[in-house]
Amino acid sequence: MNLGTNSEFGTRLAALVVLGLVLPALLAGQIAPHDPEKARPELRLKSPCLDYPLGTDQLGRCIFSRIVFGMRVSLFIGLAVVLLSAMMGIILGGAAGYFGGVLDEAIMRVVDAFLAFPSIFLALAVIGFLGSGLTNLLFSLILVEWTGYARLMRSGVLALRGKEFLEAATGLGASNLYIMRRHILPNVLPSLLVMATLGMGNAILGAASLSFLGLGIQPPTPEWGAMMNDARPFIRAFPLMMIFPGIAITVSVLAFNLLGEAIRIRLDPRSEMRNES
């Protein structure tokens, strides 16, 4: 498990685990033995058996099928949050670093203000004011995540400012947008990739936390956090109902964290020696 000395192996392992998450999400319909939303009250709270590998929940729905379909929901949320927040951060952080001056000052103070809120409380407040549901869940997580990309992009641009190849491009008459897209973005991309991979884990965890509080994905959609919320009254009678979705969350978040860490070490082997928190 030592990623530092064997990053090749680490990357492959993490990529394999992530693939192990993506495949079931794509093939959920083929893998799941039952309809994840079909209630069979006569079969409620069954212990694991051959027909229901992880048992059934309080409405008699197959827990295994719900976990498999839940992967789809979590991956979708993760991807959407990462893509949208990265886009927002790249544009705003890029503009701040590239144009500098008042614009930089203004954008970075907004970033500071968003960072002033403890992240989960910011997400909670957004949902608290605007209501629960998928759109607001995504919106709240994007507001939490975009600041990281903005800061990264800005410092990436600042590090490149004044470099000869940028001056050459300007001299050749390239537009600002062209320079940003063709010269600056590729240079910052590796670090953005690491942040995005770790961001997948964050988004999945955040969405599960909010759904666990009943403020994210609403029933009957199979979502891991929401499934754990359903399990709360049965913690004494059927603790497995709480344990299984938690394993699913942990494994998927862990996979993305491992992959992000492995990519980081591969891109910059020295980072293992330096700061890695």
Binding site: I120, L213, G246
Partner: protein, 315 residues
Amino acid sequence: MLAFILKRIILLLPVLLLVSIISFTLFYLSPGDPAEILLTGPQGPPDPAAVQEFRERAGFNDPAYVQYLRWLTKACHGDLGYSYTSGERVSDAVLDSFVPTLKLSLISLIISLLISIPLGILSAVRKGSLIDGLGMVLALLGISVPGFWLAYLLIILLALQLDVLPVAGYGQNGDLQHMILPAVTLGASAAAVTSRMMRSSMLEALQQDYITAARARGLSERSVVLRHALRNALLPVITVIGLNFTYLLNGSAVVETVFAWPGIGNLMTYSIYDRDYPMILGCMLFLAMLFLALNLMVDICYYYINPRTRHESGD
């Protein structure tokens, strides 16, 4: 020193203003008419004319920026309005709920430091060993395990199966028995992050020339590590403590709800369930101010303890 603090505070002012604008904007965008919510009593929906009159009187018909400025003026005087549901002063409720959160955070902080500092030192000194690998696995698990799941694992094991600790609640004014499970839950995940920070900081310290010098003088490894390296490696621990608090406060939202711990996380969650918008706004503003103050304190401590930063910030 004073100039440094003043400069920091002045830099904070625009951020505070933006924090208040973000908070108020969300509050302003919330659906539902506050006048209608306030006037709805047990007898059913209020008379539309009364609602209209109340809106006019309370200033809900003014443009957004007028409402914002009025709210900001009041907020600056410590008046955050009244709860929609209980009629309590928001500022009182928020401060009351902060006491249990602070109590829980302090105990969690101690737990997390007790785990993370020794683990970080050992991982750095024995880099690449079994304990370093174990530390790595624990750290990765710590940031991947959802706090509410860990909470329930502990409840299932210690409260339900072994029956040695209470499942949830505040007990007699927050006694230790009721505090152990939530504090361990929060402390464990915070320790995951900080043990890695401690490790990198220790690794960096161990590579400095003065360590080579100390070794060359024939000092024992124990003395080199504990007396020479640790002192310098502990500098960033102040940042670690600040970061830890961030983690603990973040975790408290969900963990406090699981353990029915009457802190600010619990208050926030239940205010959302009740659509008690002024209370949500109050919690949000209070936490942001707390965070900014915490960061400021970390900066000041760092400046005070580490002379090197004084030159950098002097220009």
